[in-house]
Structure formats: C-alpha cells, structure tokens
C-alpha cells in the first residue's frame, strides 16, 4: 500500500442484494488519490459515483476488495473524523442558528466552547457568511445554505473533503459563483477533495483529475489528468485546452455506453 495516498482503493466491488436479484453497484474499482488533489467522479446516474463516495465515507460497506482512507479502514477514518462530507442538500437543522449548525460536529467531538466559537467564526468567514451567525437556515437562500453546510464540513478541519453533487440543486449562476469560491478555498487550504458531479464543465473546471465512470456494472472507464493550471478563473472555460479536456471526458462517457439506454 502506498503510504502517501489519501485514498487507496484496490479491486473494490459492492453488490446490493434486492428482491429483484443482485445489483452490481461497483465492480473492480481501482483508485489512488494523492494529497492535495481535486478528483471529480463523473458519470450518468446509476454508475455508482455516489456509492463510491459513500463507501469511502463508511456509509456503505464493500463486498470485496481493499480500501484505505488516510492509511486506515474507512470505519477508523470516520471515527477519527478524517473527512468532511457535503451532501446533495444542505441538511441544516432548522432549530439551530447558522452558527450552531456549524458548531454541531464540534459539539459531538467534545470541543470546548471557546474552540468551537473560534472555528465557527473562521469557517463562516471562509465561505463568506459572516454576519449570518444568528439567522436560521430557513431564512437563507439555497446557495447560502449550501455554503453554510460546507463551513460545517470544514469546521471539523479534515484534510479530506467528500462532496456529493453539492451544487446540483442550485441554478447555474449561483453554481458558477460557488465553483469559483470552492477553487479559492482549495487553493487556500490545500485540502484533498473528491467531488461527485454529472456536469462536464463543472468537473473540468474544478478538477486536477477526472474519473469517468459508466453504469451496469458501476465501474471506472477512464481517468483523465487535467493539464489546466491549479490557479484558474471562470475565463479558463473559453480556452481550447479546456475544450479539449471536456471533449475527452465526453468521449469517455460515450464509450462507456452511458448515453445508449
């Protein structure tokens, strides 16, 4: 096993047993993620990208193969709060203010009040939500709620951030803005990020490595290393280099028979 890998997956498979028979959600997955990488998992629905992310997070159990997160089993990694997880919806608790929502994981970790307060303030600032501490989630827009949920994941101070289509429910303008902010955050904190999406431009714009997946059974079709510089703005989407990578991703998705049935 490679000691410098954040995530090391070897020949991993996951089969769900259902009434209609077995569903091969993941089949023979090999993936290696190095520190500081931004990895996007892209593919059509049913390709197992969310299942793969959930397996890394110890929310699903693989049926075969090896997986290590930070050199530990996913379970040990989860119990040591090695990652922050951002869900498709913000899933903020409506009875807690924004500040107390961000503070929630810190309370569970048993941190003292002063530390909690400091981390809440830092992370709300990081996602540009200072001044909204005392608001309740339902008083904020969808984009702001999702930013608060990112602050909540960051407050744990993990080296690894797992994001499951976090901006999928937002409109394109807000999504562009949050993508830009996410890149700045990545540059600033140098965290390892694994990002599930089904948007090709989003994947190409954000990632240093794009994992193209295909369905039935869920498997990795191709891994594309991005040649784009780490430091990018939204304008990079107009360059030929960007279009070339986007084209390769699209080709990969097509070869994976993702558009057929």
């Amino acid at each position: 096993m490679d000691d410098t890998s954040v995530i090391d997956i070897n020949d991993l498979s996951l089969t769900f047993k259902t009434g209609d028979g077995d569903v091969h959600a993941l089949s023979n997955i090999d993936l290696d993620v190095k520190p500081g990488e931004f990895v996007s998992l892209i593919g059509p629905s049913g390709c197992g990208k969310t299942t793969l992310l959930r397996t890394i997070a110890d929310l699903e159990q693989p049926t075969a193969g090896d997986i290590s997160v930070n050199g530990m089993s996913p379970h040990a990694a989860r119990m040591s709060r090695a990652y922050g997880y951002v869900f498709q919806a913000a899933a903020l608790y409506p009875w807690r203010t924004i500040a107390r929502n961000v503070s929630l994981p810190l309370e569970i970790m048993g941190l003292d009040a002063a530390t909690r307060q400091k981390r809440v303030a830092e992370n709300l600032q990081l996602v540009n939500l200072e001044g909204f501490e005392k608001k309740f989630p339902w008083q904020l827009s969808g984009g702001m709620q999702q930013r608060a949920s990112i602050a909540r994941a960051l407050a744990v101070e993990p080296d690894l951030l797992l994001m499951d289509e976090p901006f999928g429910a937002l409109d394109e303008i807000v999504r562009d803005h949050l993508n830009e902010q996410l890149l700045k955050l990545w540059a600033k904190t140098n965290k390892t990020i694994i990002f599930v999406t089904h948007s090709i431009p989003e994947a190409v714009y954000l990632s240093s490595k794009i994992v193209v997946m295909s369905p039935r059974p869920g498997r990795i079709h191709e891994i594309i290393d991005s040649s784009l510089p780490r430091d990018r703005t939204l304008d990079i989407r107009e360059t030929t280099e960007f279009h070339e990578i986007a084209h390769r991703v699209r080709e990969g998705l097509r070869q994976g028979h993702s558009y057929e049935d």
Partner: protein, 372 residues
C-alpha cells in the same frame, strides 16, 4: 367599508330605530327619556359618520359608535330582563339591532391592519371576549325571553350566581379531580409513554411485542377500565389517575415513535459522518425532530385526561370531585351546579391546552407550520 359591513350597518340601524318607534311596551319610559335620547343621538351620529366615512372623523365614528350604541342597548335589554316578564316587539327589535351593530363593531375592529403593538394585542383579546359575551347574552335572553325550563337550560346569570355561592365546593372538586387525578395521571401517562417509546425504538423485539399490547390497551373502553381501576387502586384520586394513565399512554407512545422516525436518512448519515453515538444522535437530531409529534400527543392528551378523570368518578369516589358532583347534582335536578362544574372543566381544560400550545410555540418555532 365592505358591502357586507354596509348591510350590517343598515340592518342594525334599522333595528334600533324601529325599536325606538315601536317599543310595544313602556320599556324606554321606565328608565326615563334618557335612554331614548341617547339611542336617537347615537343613531343620528352614526348616519353622519357613514355619510363621511372616507374622512378620519367618519372612520372614527363608524368604528366606535356601533360598539357604544350596541353596548348601551345591551344595558337597556338587561334592565328590561330584570324587571319584566312580558317581552314585546321593541325588546326583540332592540336586541336584533344591538346584535347586528355589535357584529359590525367586531368586523370593523378585526379589519384594522395588523400593527405589532399593544393596540393589536388588546384588539386580539377584545374580539373573542366581545364575541363570547354576546353568546352569553343571547343565551340569557333566549332562555328568559322564551321561558325555557331551568332543568333543560338554566340562564348564565343563574349559573354565575350558583358559581359565586359555591366556590369552596367547586375548589375542592377542582383540587380533587384536576390538580390530583388529571395532572398526576397526565404526567405519569405521558412520561411513561415517552420513555417506553424510546426503549421500543431501540429494540425491534419490543416493537413487535409491546406495540400490539399497547394498541389493545388503548382500545379498551373507559367505562370498562374505570371500575376495575377503582377496585385496584381504591375510591380516592389514585384510581382516577390510573384511568388517566391508561388513556394518555398510548397516544404518547405512538406519536413519539412516529416522531423518532421523522429524521431523514441524510440527516442520520450526517450524524454518522461525525462519528456521533446513539445518545448524541438521539438528543441532537431525533428528539428535536420528534418534538412536533410529541406536542401533538401532549395536546390530545390534555383533553383526554380531563374527560377520563371526570368519567372515572362516576364509578365510585369519595364525596368530592367534579365527576362525582355532576352525577349527584344531576340526580337532584340541580342543573345549575352541573353547569358550574362544566364551566370549571371548560376553563381548566382550555387553560391546560393553552399552556401546552404556548410551550410548543416556544420550542418548535422552527417548524414550517409556526415559522414567522
């Protein structure tokens, strides 16, 4: 002013005016001509007000004059009720006119735009109070005007007199039934329902075994349970509290169980990613999520508890208690006392419910149904 308010004002004014023209008997003359003059000038001022309704003075007159004239007419009606047994056309016309004007007053009052200050607070209390008083007045007038037998329905004034004359008995009954049987039974029933729900929630075996038995207990008729509880726990309040426990336990159990499964999978996964243990997930996620369900049960149970305790006293009790009083006084044809007890039960029950609803507002302010 809406079309409906215009109809109310026209009919109300006509009623008062006709009452003055055709009194039918000497009801205005007995109190002197003052009544007559007050009503006439009130009616004239109101008509002036309606003519200039767009101006501030007109708005002021048309809001408050219906209330004042209505109130004044009510004092005449009450005086007439006291001294006369013969009610003629003028009396009924005045009642009708006063009622319509009172209605108009409340309509105008509730149509004022909401302002977050003391005025709206007073208004929000005044409207139901005026409404309730009119209901009582209607009851009084109908019962006395049509000579309804007291056994069928005593007038509110008679009930109030009986209430005032027997406060010590009523207090003793209230203490016995409400402060002991209802409250203690309620806390025991709701508390055990809540705790057992949490235990059942953790164990699939208990869910399969205990839940059907709880279901069975809740289906038992109270008139079957009450005599058995009296045999088990004696004549005093303890047996009534036991009936209340049986009645309140199951609604609490079922609602808490439903509430505990209200948290979404995503929220539960979130707690899992934090490495939260069972206790942390319970207190920080599942119980807050269950609160609206728990308060539903608390509200349902507040009325069930009162019914249960009162009915249980029909099956053996020491010579005190609200249910005991109702059953014995009905036998002695003292219907006014029965009504006095009903009034106590109504006030206590609404206050009980109101307190729980207030706490619910405080604790579940975040729920979509309560969000400001």
């Amino acid at each position: 002013m809406s079309k409906f308010q215009k109809i109310l004002s026209n009919l109300g004014l006509a009623g008062v005016f006709l009452a003055i023209l055709f009194p039918g008997n000497d009801m205005f003359l007995q109190r002197g001509s003052v009544d007559w003059m007050v009503l006439v000038s009130g009616v004239i001022l109101m008509m002036v007000g309606f003519a200039i309704v767009k101006s501030p003075a007109g708005k002021f007159l048309t809001l408050w004059l219906p209330g004042i004239v209505s109130f004044y007419a009510v004092t005449i009606i009450l005086a007439e009720l006291d001294k006369s047994t013969d009610f003629r056309s003028g009396f009924w016309l005045l009642l009708l006119g006063a009622w319509l004007l009172g209605w108009l007053f409340v309509e105008r009052l509730s149509a004022i735009a909401d302002t977050p200050d003391i005025v709206s607070l007073v208004r929000n209390i005044a409207i139901p109070v005026i409404f309730g008083l009119w209901l009582l007045l209607g009851w009084e007038v109908v019962v006395r005007g049509f000579d309804v037998p007291q056994v069928l329905l005593p007038p509110p004034s008679m009930i109030a007199a009986r209430f005032a004359a027997s406060t010590s008995i009523l207090w003793a009954d209230f203490k016995q039934t409400f402060l002991q049987a209802v409250l203690i039974g309620y806390f025991l029933g709701c508390g055990s329902g809540f705790l057992i729900a949490i235990v059942i929630d953790r164990s699939p075996f208990l869910r399969r075994g205990l839940l059907p038995i709880g279901n069975l207990v809740s289906a038992l008729p109270i008139i079957g349970v009450a005599p058995i509880m009296v045999m088990w726990f004696g004549f005093d309040w303890q047996s009534k509290a036991a009936v209340v426990v049986v009645m309140t336990f199951f609604p609490m159990l079922v609602n808490t169980l439903a509430g505990l499964s209200a948290a979404s999978n995503m929220q539960l996964d979130l707690m899992k990613t934090y490495g939260a243990n069972y206790r942390q997930t319970l207190f920080k996620l599942r119980l807050p999520e269950a609160l609206p369900f728990i308060f539903n049960a608390l509200k349902i149970n507040s009325t069930l508890a009162l019914i249960g305790a009162i009915v249980a006293e029909f099956f053996g009790t020491p010579i005190v208690g609200m249910g005991f009083r109702i059953s014995t006084e009905v036998g002695r044809m003292n219907v006014d006392m029965v009504w006095a007890e009903i009034a106590v039960a109504a006030v206590a029950g609404s206050a009980f419910y109101g307190v729980i609803a207030l706490i619910e507002r405080r604790l579940t302010f975040w729920h979509p149904s309560l969000r400001a």
